[in-house]
Point group: D2
Chain length 336, copies 4
């Protein structure tokens, strides 16, 4: 097909404008319509993108000329809207988290399969060249054996009331971890603090156990003075610091390590080795642009997205287990 | 007394040279003798400080003219050496941790009381002007109510084989937390990763619950590419970032917060407030110099040290509970 | 008038897309047409903004419904295009430098006056809240007496062949200096290095003398490994560092100084004073958005722009003198 | 000889304590005596190093058992004291600048030759592994052809009254430039600002022309809010940033450049190339320790120091020309 893919956007709050801008910028797509329950938000997409606007997303879905919708509404509405959209025969991109339970996620996967429509989740970081590079360094064993990984994703930003920091922020870390380590975690424990709204954790600390004794730790918070988006991967041969807010040095690869030194039998010492630091030049494409382009490409070429429904489900299985651990005061919960 | 306080130093490995340099620099003290089991290490203190040297610390302790000893030997030897020193009538400064169990710590406290000698533990950060300032900001409620605190103390540095990262590194964080919050934690959970030596955690993640729902988190590791010593204190009115390796801005006080906005009955929103940042000028004294000077001052004036045996015991009680949690795979352990 | 101001944009190369995006985003303006001699560049504005496109800017100017044009073509064409646009009765925003000589700039000012049209130059930094704040701190003498100012504006970026780094980059520094110090420099000297193209300086070092012995220094280069946009203002009471690429701390106000200490007659010493650092919260509006909005507001309300033709002329008078100094190997040239 | 080299130190003000500490730490040297006109300063070296002390340096020089002296007195006294010391048969290390004129420097060189004594100047940075690495990268043409170099050495620190920022701070930059480029500058121009004391420039901006059109610029100031010690070397193939206050990344080597692209005849374009960044692991030895060890080694092995009298003279010839330029308002002065 040579006509642009016709896209509708549902939800024009915090994240929706970014999706709108990126779909609008694609040559093979067209942002045709935008829906938001708050009519005050609709002036902007009408003016900037000449998009048709709807206060009721059902009107948007009723348009038979739309090929696909992107959903960036509050997380608790993802499932219902995505289901309706798939049932209307639309290809669907849902912001993370894909849904609020694995049952919901599985239902969406089934409908998408049945309707033969693309179902994709907005795990942006899997469309990020820095993360691709980390996976490559891990997979090729350039960093040796992975020991542990930790991630800090904090900011004073988008405080939410309907979902906690685990469901709002940590899906990014979990999706990166699963992708980079190419494995599901076996178990998780999580603790959090609740300060601003009842029963909504503003900060969570999550520990994940991956196969081969790989440990991962995630600190997610929307109650922090500084914007930090940093992940450190410690390997036996090299260590990587991924700082997403550093314009010049997103990835630092340290030729550092510690190793046993000494007689095979008897006494040994641990020696520390410290070498050069290498900052690779990365593809400078915008991850969200890549994500939107990938969604359109999958629709047009009948491909399965990199962050498909199964990918979204895997993250939700971890979130569910972590949520159970939060409720049980940090008890270790196996991921089934 | 007007003659200098005569000091002996036991242990001249990693930390001992720093103690030697600082005691040597004090006008009212004299570094008289140094002991280390490794004779190769004794050339330096002999040359730099004209100190008498001993391969056997018992010889050093036998010198009746010594007023006090500082102990910076491997942690597992702290108790025995400190006990002997006290029994010989010496005032004692022990590097952290004070001992390897609360029973040992209590025994040392008792002997010191009986012998009427100063017993002090090297919790350096309680002698640090930046930490004093944080306590002042917390105590005066300048930052409002404390919500949570987290600390990262990581480096590729002094990998140990006899004690894990919890006992080696985290005593600093725990002593700062107790001091700054002016409270003991109620419970602790800890998880760790073991990579270099069997049964020795190279990295630990520790969660502590303090009274008033204050949550604290400590990440300690000697297997990390970058030296980080950072603690963040999030309050309801202001937030503090304490970065010990930033020469210009050790303390940043952010006039930032989040608060409920809206009708008393019914719907409310969380609003975020972001204001100025303030970097206070701090006393530039070296914390370890302060610590050494304080030890000497307590000896000379019969004062109780700020970081006395009880202080050391409190930290050990937390370490013991955290160690138990490590052994029980992160289970929450109450601190008795 | 309640209909949007109709804007045409001439030049869609390096900077034009930023102007297009910002005019498009304004509620009271409409980006109607875009012209560029390179037709390949016109697809994007057609798609993103539904703008009419022209390979010949004269066609764009011929549209009687256009109220105003923004000109972001190569600097050597600014004068001709701006003159034609004014003669066609359009309000005109010209990217810096306004023209290539003070004679040209004066001619544009005259035509604009005669035609009663707004003439504005794109000195973006005078629409920047950080620069407003600096002016306020200088004007109120909060920093005491200004001693000297220096500025580094370097990058590996937009290497040009038709104008040198002085005319391409330094207009920003010069416009900030005149605005912040509220004075014209008395004299200038400049030296440069020519590496990539014959007779085009890739780097310049410019020294400016302002009234009251205030010295200013500007280093501008497009041949540098790191993006730096930093200006330091040293006063007798306080010092300011303005780092435009620091997201968290654009402005640091240091309570630092040096002062004479000692007997009125005879010996004195210079003492150094070092106090707190203060990072004020700044209005987070985008400077280019402010600039575009200001242009439209001046058109709609018949106001004189902050960066009017006279403002553009002042900067060109300094550039001319600096260019003469470059040609005379750094000789001091008085600004007439 | 197997006995330690016996060292006397003259001047225990700002820099002397660093020399004392480093000589004291050397195994093959002994700090025997310290002289300072201010007797209050002599307590510390007596206590720390058991050094004999003298209020009159002539007494120190009279000691026939001293092999060598290090001179860290005010710059204007360097010549007289160094001359006396050489005449007394001592080997001499003089802090920079070696003297206050090239005539004085030449006289010292002559006396040293006649007396067959080592004469060395304290250009610390030529004993710095980072600077060695830069020279290696320049010499091997790894960075291609050198285009230009600029250096910022500023701080709010040691404000002086007897010599200006040119003579106090810039000797470091000039010595590094001559060493790294392996060439003398051909001409210099300098401008400065005088704020705190009459006729003493607190800040200078110096432009140097080296052979092959290499341009260098030095900004030196003791009136600046932040400590900066940064030098950037721009080559045709790579660029280096040397940041002496960055503990982790002293040297960053950017694989960046700009080059001509296009037809041999007719039009060409300048393209920009941006690649990886490489941070080499450097020898972590302390430069001043290297300097002191090198001085002792030259004495003991009869070697000519890397920073010998001729080296000191070269820097002074540049300083003299720069001083003349300052006096002539920035006129270009050829270096003879």
């Amino acid at each position: 097909m040579t006509t642009p893919t016709r896209i509708g956007l549902i939800g024009y709050g915090y994240w929706g404008p970014n999706l709108a801008r990126n779909f609008h910028a694609l040559a093979n797509a067209q942002l045709v319509a935008v829906a938001d329950a708050d009519p005050k938000r609709l002036d902007e997409p009408a003016r900037l993108y000449h998009a048709r606007t709807h206060a009721d997303y059902r009107e948007l879905l009723a348009d038979p000329t739309l090929d696909a919708v992107a959903i960036s509404t509050p997380a608790r509405t993802h499932f219902d809207i995505a289901r309706e959209a798939l049932n209307q025969g639309k290809h669907v991109l849902v912001e993370k988290p894909l849904a609020m339970s694995s049952a919901e996620a599985r239902a969406l996967i089934e409908i998408a399969a049945e309707k033969q429509r693309v179902l994709m989740v907005g795990h942006t970081f899997e469309h990020n060249p820095a993360v691709w590079k980390i996976r490559e360094l891990v997979e090729s064993r350039t960093i040796g054996e992975v020991f542990y990984v930790y991630s800090n994703r904090v900011n004073l930003g988008r405080v939410q009331r309907d979902i906690n920091a685990l469901w709002s922020i940590a899906p990014h870390d979990i999706s990166i971890l699963i992708y980079v380590l190419d494995a599901m975690p076996l178990a998780v424990s999580a603790r959090g603090g609740t300060y601003l709204s009842d029963n909504v954790e503003d900060v969570v600390f999550v520990t994940l156990t991956f196969p081969n004794q790989v440990l991962a730790h995630v600190h997610a918070s929307w109650l922090d003075p500084s914007k930090t988006r940093q992940m450190t991967i410690v390997g036996s041969q090299k260590m990587i610091v991924y700082d997403d807010v550093d314009a010049e040095a997103k990835l630092r690869i340290y030729d550092k390590g510690a190793y046993k030194h000494g007689a095979e039998y008897g006494e040994f010492q641990i020696k520390v080795r410290s070498g050069d630091i290498f900052i690779p030049k990365l593809d400078s494409s915008e991850p969200l642009r890549n994500e939107c382009a990938h969604f359109v490409e999958c629709i047009r070429e009948g491909k399965r997205p990199r962050t498909d429904g199964e990918n979204g489900l895997r993250v939700i299985r971890v979130l569910e287990a972590a949520q159970e651990s939060l409720a049980r005061n940090g008890a270790t919960v196996r991921i089934v």
